[in-house]
Symmetry: C2
Subunit: 398 residues, 2 copies
């Protein structure tokens, strides 16, 4: 059987560049930047005053001058006003340009202003203080944000400050989420005594939307012709098909036959893991990828976070996410020779460690249980006994 | 000066219920659930088969019967078919209802099927295996998701499975993000040599949108009448005013006067912290809250995560977020008697600890630096020297 490590490798080998598109910068959060952002001017673009107070020439203090005639007041955004004499100062506001004839700003708290005169009453003035010098953060044309990173609110700030109203971002893959089976009815339907409602597709959609995708949901009935026709349509019109259920040994699972007929090459079927053992992965000759997850909702959820999301990062050119490690809070045993994904709740302790507390359901795909957890702890297949205090890799999903 | 602890307490004392609204369940991710979700039927609603194979009555095996006549095939979603004799079985599919006359499912891998007969060739069959019993997860009318929690993809799944097409969620506060000052031009404008572009408001907006809010952006010019009129309008039409800049001792800062004239009660002004010392917080008589953050972008960003977002959680009835602790990776010193928020990059080590590596900018509000970090490490004001290996609270923002 394919191991988790092998399956991961095979999935991550199927990277493809889906191109780029332009988006208004305000809507770019969560997208992947596909261009380097460069400073349009020095940052800051001028010697910027960082305190309200008075601007003086430091030489005056060295010459023993402590009282200054206020020549004028200069607000942020105004053209700088020069002083002509060392005993003059400019009353100046945060964000204003430092006048070329001054070099030091003394904040209001440290001066006394009376009758048009400002007296400095502290000793510890440093030349150049309270000024954010032109170009100290970045020079014009310097890269201020590298290509190939996720657009965060910090990147939004950078884009705004350099006047980039539109950003070139990676085009995400087009994803179809496919459920199948006549036992499933839609959420707004009343199921018969033998049916249940579709839920998996909506969960997958919610996760993908959190990662910047706009997937389409599709349901295929138990009919071999319709199955083949609809899967064929998806292979032509989407980059990724995410199937949940329908890949098993069941007599009414028409999907494996349809995939074979449509020349989707199988890379693996069955991975040595629980949940998610029947995971099937392949590629159509036109490049479309097929992630066929088991129908068990927790299995689909695990496979989505363990395989699809890392693939999504990689295919968009993002660096691999740093692994997260957590300490198992109590003994746990699991006998089958499968990598086990234990549902846990993570919490930070005052030693700076992440503690993973198991919240075990009945293993049947109980989603009510999953709602109380925030990660899977990855327990290696080589072992059956896992002790409190041991450390394992965690896959966070909230 | 107000301490961080006092400021936090004063902010968190201003909680208000902004009511509820109904939203389609597919759009509810990130919202706060304002009703308990209850099972509309038992979960699972019937004894559900979890493997493709044959359904038998376990008594047959006890009686030495190992070969069964396949009476019929029953798919998921179909009415259950009963067996009449112990030597009969039903070929049955995952998701199907277990026939009342059977009690055990044997998977295809463990049987041999030939000429309408299924022979069991393993010994270790357990009565009741491969069945997910009716009601074992939840009974009809049991609460499957409690009120007052964030809607996650797991909750979306639960809502779908019980047919809740619409969810009652907390109405979020209406937020106005207000910048001011004639030195700021919009992102699509070319600033003069003395101006810069607005960026803070867009950063704040991006963060708030990640937390389910739809804030409005407003810019106020340096004019006392316009300032008073526009702030007055916002106090009447929004629940929260988030100001960035404009609360200082500057001559052209008309906002403090406008807030006083409009009877906004000040709870505190200036907090013993860096960045963000000039943080001002108050409340209008009609209940609108005013968070006036300093104009320094990093200060605004810090205050937003340290004060506003915890307030937003609390005011919507969510439990307080568990604190996160991280290990400082190298010595650091900071002299002023202020709580210092060090910009760090967090990484998990194989001991399960979070390591916080300082990525220090020049302290001037350099956002290019913030883009390389993902948390602030909170260094207490009582101390000036912080050693590698010591553990402090971290405030994550990515």
């Amino acid at each position: 059987m394919t191991t988790v490590e092998e399956a991961e490798k095979l999935v991550l080998a199927q990277l493809k560049d889906y191109g780029t598109e332009t988006t208004p910068f305000e809507q770019a959060t969560g997208r992947v930047l596909a261009e380097a952002l460069k400073a349009d001017r020095d940052l800051p673009p001028f010697n910027r005053v960082t305190m309200d107070g008075i601007a003086i020439n430091y030489t005056a203090l060295q010459n023993g001058i402590n009282t200054f005639r206020i020549k004028a007041t200069q607000a942020a955004g105004e053209e700088p006003i020069a002083i002509d004499e060392l005993n003059e100062c400019i009353e100046i506001m945060t964000g204003a340009v430092l006048p070329a004839t001054t070099d030091t700003v003394i904040r209001y708290e440290d001066v006394e202003i009376r009758a048009g005169l400002a007296s400095v009453h502290v000793q510890s003035i440093k030349q150049g203080q309270n000024i954010h010098p032109q170009g100290i953060d970045k020079k014009q044309n310097d890269v201020v944000a590298a290509s190939g990173q996720m657009v965060t609110p910090a990147i939004i700030s950078i884009a705004a400050s350099i006047g980039k109203t539109h950003l070139l971002v990676k085009k995400p893959p087009r994803v179809a989420i496919i459920s199948s089976g006549d036992e499933l009815v839609d959420v707004d339907q009343v199921p018969s005594a033998y049916q249940i409602r579709k839920s998996n597709s909506y969960t997958v959609k919610a996760v993908l939307e959190q990662h910047g995708l706009s997937p389409q949901i599709l349901h295929i009935p138990d009919d071999p012709e319709v199955t083949k026709q609809q899967i064929g349509h998806c292979l032509e019109n989407y980059d990724v098909l995410l199937l949940s259920g329908g890949i098993s040994m069941g007599k009414f699972d028409y999907i494996p036959q349809a995939l074979e007929d449509l020349q989707v090459e199988k890379f693996f079927h069955k991975v040595a893991q629980r949940p998610g053992k029947p995971f099937w992965f392949g590629r159509h000759k036109n490049g479309a990828l097929v992630f066929a997850f088991p129908g068990n909702p927790v299995a689909t959820f695990m496979c989505l976070h363990r395989y699809f999301l890392p693939w999504l990062r990689a295919t968009q050119g993002l660096a691999e996410q740093l692994p997260l490690y957590a300490v198992l809070s109590k003994d746990f045993s699991f006998q089958p020779a499968l990598e086990y994904y234990l549902q846990v709740k993570l919490a930070s302790n005052p030693k700076g460690q992440l503690i993973a507390s198991p919240v075990e359901g009945n293993g049947s795909g109980d989603f009510a249980n999953l709602a109380d957890t925030d990660a899977f702890l990855e327990l290696p297949l080589e072992r059956n006994e896992f002790k409190a205090g041991e450390i394992f890799r965690a896959w966070k999903f909230v």
